[in-house]
Symmetry: C2
Amino acid sequence: MNAPDLRLPVDVPSTALFTDHYELTMLQAALRAGTAGRRSVFEVFTRRLPEGRRYGVVAGTGRVLDAVENFRFDEGVLGFLHERGVVDEPTLGCLSEYRFTGDIWGYPEGEVYFPGSPILRVEGSFAECVLLETVILSILNHDSAIAAAASRMSSAAGDRPLIEMGARRTHELAAVAASRAAYVGGFTSTSDLAAGFRYGIPTVGTSAHAFTLLHDTERDAFEAQVACLGTGTTLLVDTYDVAEAVRTAVEVAGPELGAVRIDSGDLLLVAHRVRQQLDELGAKRTRIVVTSDLDEYAIASLRAAPVDAYGVGTQLVTGSGHPTCSMVYKLVARAESTDPAAPLIPVAKKATGGKTSIGGRKWAARRLDEEGVAEAEVIGTGPVPAGLQDRQLLVELVKGGSVVAREPLDVVRDRHFEARDRLPLSATQLSRGEPVIPTEYV
Amino acid sequence: MNAPDLRLPVDVPSTALFTDHYELTMLQAALRAGTAGRRSVFEVFTRRLPEGRRYGVVAGTGRVLDAVENFRFDEGVLGFLHERGVVDEPTLGCLSEYRFTGDIWGYPEGEVYFPGSPILRVEGSFAECVLLETVILSILNHDSAIAAAASRMSSAAGDRPLIEMGARRTHELAAVAASRAAYVGGFTSTSDLAAGFRYGIPTVGTSAHAFTLLHDTERDAFEAQVACLGTGTTLLVDTYDVAEAVRTAVEVAGPELGAVRIDSGDLLLVAHRVRQQLDELGAKRTRIVVTSDLDEYAIASLRAAPVDAYGVGTQLVTGSGHPTCSMVYKLVARAESTDPAAPLIPVAKKATGGKTSIGGRKWAARRLDEEGVAEAEVIGTGPVPAGLQDRQLLVELVKGGSVVAREPLDVVRDRHFEARDRLPLSATQLSRGEPVIPTEYV
């Protein structure tokens, strides 16, 4: 695979190095012990939501599918593993032929989740499943954290558009995934060109303070921008004095000026003043964009302010206080032997002191009340009760090693809105609380 | 550039897309206004440290140099910008020839920093400098946040080794940069194979609970691991009952067992019990590795416990509560005209309500007291006082577009230890406080 095929801003010849050392040593030991071929079921789930959060958002599934497809050990990687003595020759031989041939089921991307939800289920030989732990968790833990924050922000923003502009606050490639996850959670556009290139997310932006400071006067800067980008552009009005800048902006662009951007100060107060001034100047349709250290609470507090769009950076890409999820990838069942017909045995860590989990391959369903509102996340290992058959959450993503469920990002985003809309109303309260529906095990 | 050249786990044909849309529209407007060629000075600095932190750690500089060198607009990128109408034809022409030809000075990587420290200074035409904002900030904000957390953890750990194992908790490529930054901050090794491949950081790891659960008994699993990885391996002892596992481990591997790993429970209590049990079993040299949700406070609280190494994941890769820094990239001076001889004029945003900055190209020096301990970060725009001439902090990194200051990661790591050692002792207190030395402007 190379960049043109995947439309990535970087080539990804292989995702096989996004792997923890111990996955390869486990493979080596299992190969030698004759247990590597035992059919195994791994599940991704989280024991809890981040403190105070009412629901989680599954994001990154599409990226997981890409990563699994491109998980190959090429010569460069094998040479490195050999040179550093990470694994022995028989294991290198096994890795050189590695290709995931199993099945993956999971919550569809954009769906909401709760503690215990089996977000992803990976089945195949122990050898092929164990190696995927790190790359799958990296993607889901990062992307779901960003999508959860984005979802809270988009609830708070209502119909007003949200611009993702956090690339400068996170790793340059994490930023691209963050834009994608933000879009899933309800954002409208991004400042990040790589996210536009890779995922087709609309990109926006006009100018920074540096552009005003480059010019001899603020008027010169506004004239240069309007001459080039048209009167529909967005002028940044807080480099010097806001009131003077707004006056100059309308003088330069006329009342058809597209928007002004405010990036500092008391946004509530300034937005009201600027709206009044714009109206008085006849620029009644000129929009106001605010972009200063916003989070979901600041967005909510500006609900009554004359604000037309929000730009969000730091708090979005850092998950608004929760930059990662606590998803884990656990072996929940494995065959008694390498015989393909051997039955699966549920397994689970049992030590006292926490981190226990429930063994067995799970199904999950969301039970709705009579009005169609979610009332419980039901998880079980036995047969699915008749009333929940058509409320099951897991869908087939990979079948016999082939991806069977690619979908456009807009479908994922719409699914998120739909899933969120079916939660009890208190789901979108920003205040801290328990998961909005309980998890029931049957 | 391709993967073998850069030894990256992914090919980076270009870093030019790690750019915010507005940098290109500013370029377009400046080209049209005839101001794009004005000589400009941009500086990276932060107005404050994360709340309660005593010092910051510069990390990512080496990655910035790679990014600047690979900042090129190839046909695929230009085609995208054209198709989406991001910029006009003359601007595309300018981008197609883009190559940074200016100068970059900065704090050497591993150095500590304080509010206002001019961590990086980028000089050249406005056109060439303005485009680098996002990629430079992405790298420095991410990597410095991780290095700062790592530095606090390595202070707390003293001589005991620290293993970075957070790949699963952050974006798969952010993880590679996080391993690098953790090493700069004092970590010893990583679980992440991509970090070993790219940066030569030692990789470690043996087994997870899944390996024990794969086998019919814990003894089977331990026997399989020891048969394959030798008695020097690390056995994970908390899948079922810890005391029983320790007994089995020593029976299987003998008293020469390398280490046991504890990944759950009350680590202080369990470590003491396990040490006592190992000693009683004659395994006096068997080490104890602990790896459960550690941060710098947990590491410090285990100082008196019989622990030989720490594995740190989530809290490391999320910056222990501060996953990003607040570094900004600001135009601080620019020429009056495009005449190469035109003098530079200091510029700065002046609006009320915060986010102001100090104009002018800056120098920085760290003043030491008579015992050689740092007592102030001194920053100025005029001539450097005689007494501070040889305490200056900025070094030349890029000269006329060519990188002149590549260095091995071990040099960077040693520099960090040295810089930290010169701070007042209270720098390494974990409790919240003010920056350990004041910033003085002259």
